[in-house]
C-alpha cells in the first residue's frame, strides 16, 4: 500500500482488552441468539458469524464513530461491534417493539444510523454500490468519513461487486471493501465456482488495487490492515479491497447444520478459533487471568440482561404496520 498517511497499526494492552471484550460479546450474543431459535423465540431465519468475530471487532476498533458500516444479512456482529447495545439487537430478532427497528427489519436488516450502521443487506452484492454512494457523499461534502463494506466470498461473482469496485476506483472513493472469505458460499465451496484462487484478492488488480489478504481470525492483524486501509481512504487515496480469511463454525443459516463440510476442515478451523487464540496472546502479553475472566463474566451478565429485556419487549401492532413507507411517516398512496 502506498498511503502517505499512516495510522497506528498496533494497540496497547488496554485497547486489546477492549478488542477481546468485543469478540467475546459477539460470540456470547450469537450463542444466545441460537439458543433462542431453538426455543422458538426467534422466528424466520438468521445467519450467525460465530468464528468470524475478529473481523468485525478488528475493523470496528479501527473506525471513527462517524464512519459507516455496511453489512450483510450476516450482520449481528458488525452491528454490535459498532456499539449498538445488545438489547435492541436481540429484541429485533424476537420481533419486539424495543427492537432496533421495532421488528420491521429482522435479523437480516439490522440498522442503527446513530451508530453508523447504515444497513444490513440481504441481496448478495447489493450494498457494495450503496457503500460507494455514502463514500461519494463524504467526498462531495468534504467530511473525512469512510464507508466500510463487509460481504462474503460468494459476493465476488455477482455483477454489483464488479460495478462497485470499478466505480469506487475511478472516483477514488473513501470506501473499504472487506471480503469475509469463509470458504463456503451456502452449500457450495467458493473455490469450485470461482475462476481465481483468492476470490477477492485476485480480482483487485482488475481495478488497479493492491491484492490484500489478512488472517481474519487474528483481531490484531485485522486491526492493522483495517487501520491502513481506512487511513488511505481518509487521505483521499481511494478504495481498498481486503480479503479476510476465516471460517463460520456453524452452517449458513438457521436451517443449515453445515454437514457438507469435511470434519477435518471444521476441526482445523475450530483450532484456529479467534477467541481462545486472542485470549492466549493476551495472557502472553501480560494480561491476567482474572482480567479476562472478569470480561467474560461481565459479558455473560450483559447477555442475560439483554435476553430478559428483549423477551419483555412489546408485540408490534397495527400502528407500526402502516408507518414509515414515506418520509412523512405514513403509507398513503392516494387521496
Amino acid at each position: 500500500m502506498t498511503s502517505t498517511k499512516t495510522a497506528p497499526t498496533t494497540i496497547d494492552l488496554t485497547a486489546k482488552l477492549d478488542l477481546y471484550r468485543c469478540q467475546v460479546a459477539l460470540r456470547k450474543f450469537e450463542q444466545r441468539a441460537y439458543d433462542l431459535f431453538l426455543e422458538n423465540f426467534v422466528k424466520g431465519t438468521s445467519h450467525l458469524s460465530i468464528g468470524q468475530e475478529a473481523i468485525a471487532a478488528g475493523f470496528a476498533a479501527a473506525m471513527k464513530k462517524t464512519d459507516w458500516t455496511f453489512a450483510t444479512y450476516r450482520g449481528h456482529a458488525h452491528t454490535l461491534a459498532r456499539g449498538v447495545p445488545m438489547t435492541p439487537v436481540l429484541a429485533e430478532l424476537l420481533g419486539r417493539t424495543n427492537g432496533l427497528m421495532a421488528g420491521k427489519g429482522g435479523s437480516m436488516h439490522l440498522t442503527s444510523v446513530e451508530h453508523g450502521v447504515m444497513g444490513s443487506y440481504a441481496i448478495i452484492g447489493a450494498h457494495l454500490p450503496i457503500a460507494c454512494g455514502a463514500a461519494w457523499s463524504a467526498q462531495y461534502r468534504g467530511t473525512d468519513q469512510v464507508a466500510v463494506c463487509f460481504f462474503g466470498d460468494g459476493s465476488v461473482n455477482i455483477g454489483a461487486f464488479h460495478e462497485a469496485l470499478n466505480f469506487a476506483a475511478i472516483w477514488k472513493l473513501p470506501v473499504v471493501f472487506v471480503c469475509e472469505n469463509n470458504l463456503w458460499m451456502e452449500y457450495t465451496r467458493t473455490s469450485e465456482v470461482t475462476a481465481v484462487a483468492n476470490p477477492a484478492a485476485d480480482r483487485a488488480a482488475a481495478y488497479g488495487l493492491e491484492s490484500i489478504i489478512v488472517d481474519g481470525n487474528d483481531a490484531d492483524a485485522v486491526f492493522a490492515v483495517a487501520s491502513t486501509a481506512i487511513a488511505r481512504a481518509r487521505a483521499g487515496e481511494g478504495p481498498s479491497l481486503i480479503e479476510a480469511t476465516t471460517y463460520r463454525h456453524g452452517g449458513h443459516s438457521r436451517a443449515d447444520p453445515g454437514k457438507y463440510r469435511p470434519e477435518a476442515e471444521v476441526a482445523e478451523w475450530l483450532a484456529k478459533d479467534p477467541i481462545p487464540r486472542y485470549r492466549a496472546r493476551l495472557l502472553e502479553e501480560g494480561a491476567s487471568e482474572e482480567q479476562l475472566t472478569t470480561i467474560e463474566t461481565e459479558v455473560a451478565a450483559e447477555v442475560e440482561v439483554a435476553t430478559e429485556e428483549a423477551k419483555a419487549g412489546g408485540i408490534p401492532g397495527e400502528d407500526l404496520l402502516m408507518k414509515d413507507v414515506w418520509a412523512d411517516g405514513g403509507s398513503s398512496w392516494r387521496n
Binding site: M101, G119, I123, P129, A131
Partner: protein, 325 residues
C-alpha cells in the same frame, strides 16, 4: 414566456433546483459533456461543473446504489437511467433497497432522490428500448411514480420530485422529447399527486398518462366532431394517485376509458378501473374500457409499432363504438 421543448424543460427543471440547493448532485451515463443521449441535460455540466454533474460508467447498479448511499447520508441525488428498459439490470437496487429501506429501518433513513429515465415507444427502437415501465414501478410499495406529458409539467413536476423526501421514478416519454410549448419565465414548482383536467366534456372521461395524453386530446377533438364530448384527465403521477379528481370526473360523465401505453396485463388502468368500480360503480352508465398496447413485446418496424401503441384513431374508434353500442 418562451417556447420550450420537452427535452429543454428537463434541463431547466434540474437547473432551477440545483441553483437553490447545493446538496443536489446529478449522475448518469453521458449526462455531462454529451448533454444526455436525448439532449435532455445540455448545459448542466457547464453551469454546475463536474463535481455536481458526473458522468458514470455503464453500471446501472453502481449508479443507483451511489444515488441511494448519497441520499441516506444527506445529499439529494438525481440519477439517470438512460432507457427505462435498463431498469431491468438494476431493479434490485430500486425495489429491494431504495423502496424498502425506510420501512425496514423503522424510519431511520430517508431517500430524497429522483431517478429519471427515457420511457416508452414510438421511436422504432424495438423491444428492448421502447418499453413503458410505469406499471413496474407503480406496483412497488415505497416508490413515487411521475410521468409528465408536456414541457411545463416537466419543469414543475421535476422540481416537486427533487424537493420530495421520497424516491421518485421520473419517467420521460421519449416520443415527447421534441414536443414544444410556451412556458412562463421564473420558478415553476408543481405538486405530486395532482391530476389535471385538460378538457371538459359531458359524455365520457378519458384518463391518460404521458405520451397518451396528447393522443387522448386529439382523439377527443375527433370525437367532438361526431358529437361525443370527452373530458380528458392527465394522471401525471401514478403514486401518489389523485383518485379524487379521477372519481369526480368519471362520475360527471358516467363513462371511463383508460388510455395506456403499457402492455395490457397489470397496466395502471387496471388499478384505476378497480378503484372506480369499487367507489363509483353507481355513477357508471356503461362498462369501463381499457385501451392499451396489446400484451406483446414492442416490435421495431414503424408499421407494427404504430399498430401496437394506442393511436388517436384507435382511441377515437374504441370510444365511439363503445358509446354507440
Amino acid at each position: 414566456m418562451a417556447q420550450l421543448t420537452f427535452r429543454e424543460a428537463i434541463a431547466r427543471g434540474i437547473a432551477q433546483e440545483m441553483r437553490l440547493d447545493e446538496s443536489i448532485v446529478f449522475l448518469g451515463e453521458d449526462i455531462g459533456a454529451a448533454g444526455g443521449v436525448f439532449k435532455g441535460t445540455v448545459g448542466l455540466l457547464e453551469e454546475f461543473g463536474g463535481v455536481r454533474v458526473r458522468d458514470t460508467p455503464i453500471s446501472e447498479q453502481a449508479i443507483l446504489g451511489a444515488a441511494m448511499g448519497a441520499a441516506m447520508t444527506g445529499l439529494r441525488p438525481i440519477a439517470e437511467i438512460m432507457f427505462a428498459d435498463f431498469f431491468a439490470v438494476c431493479w434490485d437496487i430500486v425495489v429491494n433497497e431504495i423502496a424498502k429501506s425506510r420501512y425496514m429501518t423503522n424510519g431511520q433513513m430517508t431517500f430524497p432522490l429522483v431517478i429519471r429515465s427515457g420511457n416508452g415507444g414510438g421511436l422504432r427502437f424495438g423491444a428492448q428500448h421502447s418499453q413503458s415501465v410505469e406499471n413496474w414501478a407503480m406496483m412497488v410499495p415505497g416508490l413515487k411514480v411521475v410521468v409528465p406529458s408536456n414541457a411545463l409539467d416537466v419543469i414543475g413536476l421535476m422540481a416537486a420530485s427533487i424537493r420530495d423526501n421520497d424516491p421518485v421514478i421520473f419517467l420521460e416519454e421519449k416520443a415527447l422529447y421534441s414536443s414544444k410549448m410556451d412556458v412562463p419565465d421564473g420558478e415553476i414548482v408543481d405538486k405530486l399527486g395532482s391530476a389535471k383536467v385538460l378538457r371538459q366534456g359531458g359524455d365520457a372521461t378519458l384518463v391518460a398518462l404521458g405520451n397518451m395524453v396528447p393522443k387522448a386530446l386529439a382523439a377527443a377533438d375527433e370525437l367532438a366532431s361526431s358529437g361525443i364530448d370527452c373530458t380528458v384527465v392527465d394522471v401525471r403521477s401514478l403514486v401518489p394517485l389523485d383518485t379524487a379528481t379521477i372519481l369526480r370526473e368519471v362520475a360527471a360523465t358516467g363513462r371511463m376509458f383508460t388510455i395506456e401505453e403499457n402492455p395490457r396485463l397489470c397496466g395502471w388502468g387496471g388499478e384505476i378501473s378497480s378503484i372506480v368500480s369499487e367507489e363509483a360503480f353507481y355513477d357508471l352508465d356503461g362498462p369501463i374500457v381499457r385501451i392499451t398496447t396489446p400484451h406483446i413485446p414492442l416490435p421495431a418496424a414503424d408499421a407494427l409499432e404504430d399498430m401496437a401503441i394506442p393511436s388517436v384513431e384507435r382511441i377515437a374508434t374504441t370510444v365511439s363504438k363503445s358509446m354507440n353500442s
